[in-house]
């Protein structure tokens, strides 16, 4: 059977499964719509959280980032997993005990202020919408490459499926589709990784293969990779090239940001008990770690495979002739994500670092007749092209397409859930129309969901120019505003309404200001006040790494303002005492 048909069958089957779940998991009450009736088993919730969390970026982009950045990409590995420790120890059990439906609702109640709640809603919506755009791009890429459907049509099919289960089932429908999507995506990610690890290192586990020996050369894989990339003028794979302070803060910002992302926190509202929230965070990380510990192996092996393909006899010999390029090369050229430009006109693909700082290397490159790097590789294709580069069977390639779509759709659904519940529960029921009945609120929730999906689809079809910059924004917002407010709300009885609002705004503004200084006001190109270079960064801190500084500002301002203003009322102190103790979780709903 040809690849095209096979891909249609595999992707079609996965979509049929999601639609089936949509009809089975209808939500009848707001409790089911917002929190899946709080009846999700902790292991099942862990799986759903893993799918909710692992986005198109984790599935498609991360291994590519690791492949091209080597050690420096460790910030993503540690940052996006270390956040779960913070979530499990500092937030999830207490927010579950609080027993309400949304993150802004906790902030509004704990800081007895609808202003605080609205600030939280705005942060949540901006962070989630920017994040959704990235998922939409992932859906488009997967469709256009594998199904040879136009990216816009693919996007509409994808959002149509989400519409079916999210509008009908809310959190309940999303939870059970996410579980199915996790199974699809983890299978699709690990199977090619195992094949490649076996081929390159003889080790079935990529986690061990990465530190094993490269079969073809008999030397350790990472030593071989270090040597190979260095011969091409790149920095050694395992060497640190960024500044240490920046790496530390970048990691910390991603950790805090992860713990503060509302669509992830919300998942812990769906388990029956506080105890389950603690377990469930552990299970979530088990399922996430399956992919995250595989990714470094995938990245390193993909880099080596790519280099060996272009330089079949090593960089000292001739590069691959363009006419002899393999089929996967041709397939990806069509998408424009892989491009060849014959700068020296010899019909061969000289792929190397033409911006090397080594004079010696540059001289040698010129002497060899190289006239600049001739191959541009988009890092996003590394995972998607991997099975083809490693010459794996067609069904594996079809599976990767379904996996990429599962990763993008599951995260998009979680984000849309966070946005729509915030609109219907925090803005409408909580602030503007408190008289809504249960039935009316459920209808409002469904309408919000439908509108949110339509906006996401529209943004996917007309992506704003800043689409690539948004990850920094989403994590920056979550780290600098949401996480500190939640943590102080639980761990301090001294922070009052004014302190919390001032802290959130200060952290938020400082972070936005720093990002916009280097990336342009609202990401409009050319409006940045300083060039985005390490030399210009304050203490070498990149805009993406500033969230941790924003969080520190938030904490500091909140403490100072609270100290200078009125004390926290007695009933709020009781609320804090109450969420710290698991006992009475059932009753907390009617607080």
């Amino acid at each position: 059977m040809d690849l095209q048909t096979l891909t249609y069958i595999v992707v079609g089957a996965s979509f049929a499964l999601y639609i089936g779940i949509a009809f089975w998991a209808r939500a009848g009450t707001t409790g089911e719509f917002y929190a899946a009736g709080r009846g999700v088993h902790p292991v099942a919730n862990g799986m759903a959280t893993a799918a909710d969390w692992m986005s198109a970026a984790s599935f498609i982009s991360m291994a590519g980032l690791i492949a091209f950045r080597g050690y420096d990409a460790s910030v993503f590995l540690m940052g996006w997993t270390g956040g779960y420790v913070l979530l499990a120890l500092l937030l999830a059990p207490y927010l579950r005990k609080f027993g309400k439906f949304t993150v802004p609702e906790f902030i509004g109640d704990r800081f007895y202020s609808s202003t605080a709640r609205i600030v939280a809603v705005i942060c949540l919506i901006v962070a989630s919408i920017t994040y959704v755009i990235g998922q939409m791009k992932g859906v488009g890429v997967a469709f256009s490459r594998f199904l040879e459907v136009d990216a816009s049509t693919g996007l509409l099919i994808g959002t149509g499926i989400v519409f079916l289960y999210a509008v009908q089932g809310g959190m309940k429908g999303i939870t059970y589709t996410q579980i199915a999507q996790y199974c699809v995506l983890i299978f699709a990610y690990t199977v090619p990784a195992i094949f490649i690890s076996l081929e390159l290192t003889g080790n079935i586990l990529p986690q061990l293969g990465l530190f094993g020996d490269h079969v073809a050369s008999g030397t350790p894989l990472l030593a071989k990779l270090d040597a190979t990339v260095q011969e091409l003028g790149f920095t050694q794979y395992t060497a640190q090239s960024g500044g240490t302070l920046n790496i530390v803060l970048y990691t910390l910002s991603l950790m805090i940001g992860t713990a503060g992302l509302p669509h992830v926190i919300m998942r812990f509202f769906t388990v029956p008990k506080v105890k389950d929230a603690r377990w469930s965070a552990g299970w979530a990380l088990v399922f996430i770690a399956l992919l995250y510990t595989t990714a470094p192996g995938v990245g390193a092996m993909a880099r080596l495979n790519l280099t060996d393909t272009i330089w079949p006899s090593g960089p000292q010999a001739e590069a691959l002739a363009y006419d002899e390029r393999p089929d996967w090369f041709k397939n990806w050229e069509v998408t424009g994500l892989l491009t060849f430009e014959d700068k020296n006109g010899d019909g061969r693909i000289q792929y190397y670092n033409d911006k090397s700082k080594s004079e010696e290397f540059n001289a040698a490159a010129t002497a060899a007749g190289w006239a600049g790097n001739e191959l541009k590789v988009d890092r996003d294709i590394m995972v998607l092209a991997n099975p083809e580069i490693a010459k794996l069977p067609n069904w594996v390639i079809a599976l990767v397409a379904a996996g990429g779509l599962a990763a993008a759709l599951s995260t998009a659904a979680g984000l849309l859930m966070a946005i729509s519940s915030s609109v219907s529960h925090d803005l409408l029921k909580g602030t503007l129309m408190p008289d809504l009945t249960e039935k009316q609120e459920l209808l409002a929730a469904r309408i919000s969901m439908a509108v949110a999906i339509s906006i996401a689809a529209w943004l996917g079809l007309n992506p704003p120019g800043f689409a690539a910059q948004v990850v920094a924004l989403a994590f920056g917002l979550a780290a600098s505003s949401i996480f500190p407010a939640l943590m102080m709300g639980i761990f301090s009885t001294k922070i009052n309404d004014k302190g919390a609002i001032a802290g959130m705004l200060a952290g938020l503004l400082a972070t936005l200001l720093y990002i916009f200084t280097f990336k342009g006001w609202f990401f409009v190109p050319g409006t940045n006040m300083l060039d985005n270079t390490t030399a210009n960064h304050f203490l070498g801190i990149a805009p993406e790494a500033f969230g941790a500084v924003g969080a520190a500002i938030n904490f500091g301002v909140a403490y100072m303002v609270s100290g200078a203003t009125s004390a926290v009322p007695e009933n709020i102190r009781h609320l804090v005492e109450d969420i710290r103790v698991p006992k009475g979780a059932g009753a907390a709903v009617d607080h």
């Binding site: 270390g82 420790v85 530190f211 350790p220 990472l222 088990v286 009475g584």
Partner: protein, 91 residues
């Protein structure tokens, strides 16, 4: 629900203090494996080789994730035990 248990389980009681102690130690380990072994102390540990590279690289791309996992389960087990000891369990 009432706040009758506040005296025993309210702010700054033994249950909460034990929890804070546990959290602090877990976070010390959390920071030590990631920021410590994976980043800051990596140059000092470069002599310890692990399959073609050094210990710091292993912690940055594998080890810290395994420790994070162990920490979350350890915390859950210890907290569930604390809940029992202090009678703070859910009904």
């Amino acid at each position: 629900m009432g706040y009758a248990m506040s005296e025993k389980l309210g702010v700054d009681n033994a249950y909460w203090k034990a929890n804070i102690r546990l959290i602090t130690w877990c976070l010390v380990v959390w920071a030590f494996v990631s920021f410590g072994l994976g980043i800051l102390f990596r140059p000092m540990l470069s002599g310890i080789s692990v399959g073609g590279t050094d210990l710091g690289f292993w912690f940055a791309q594998q080890g810290s994730i395994y420790v994070f996992l162990a920490l979350i389960f350890f915390y859950a087990i210890r907290m569930n035990a604390l809940d029992k000891k202090f009678g703070a369990e859910e009904d």
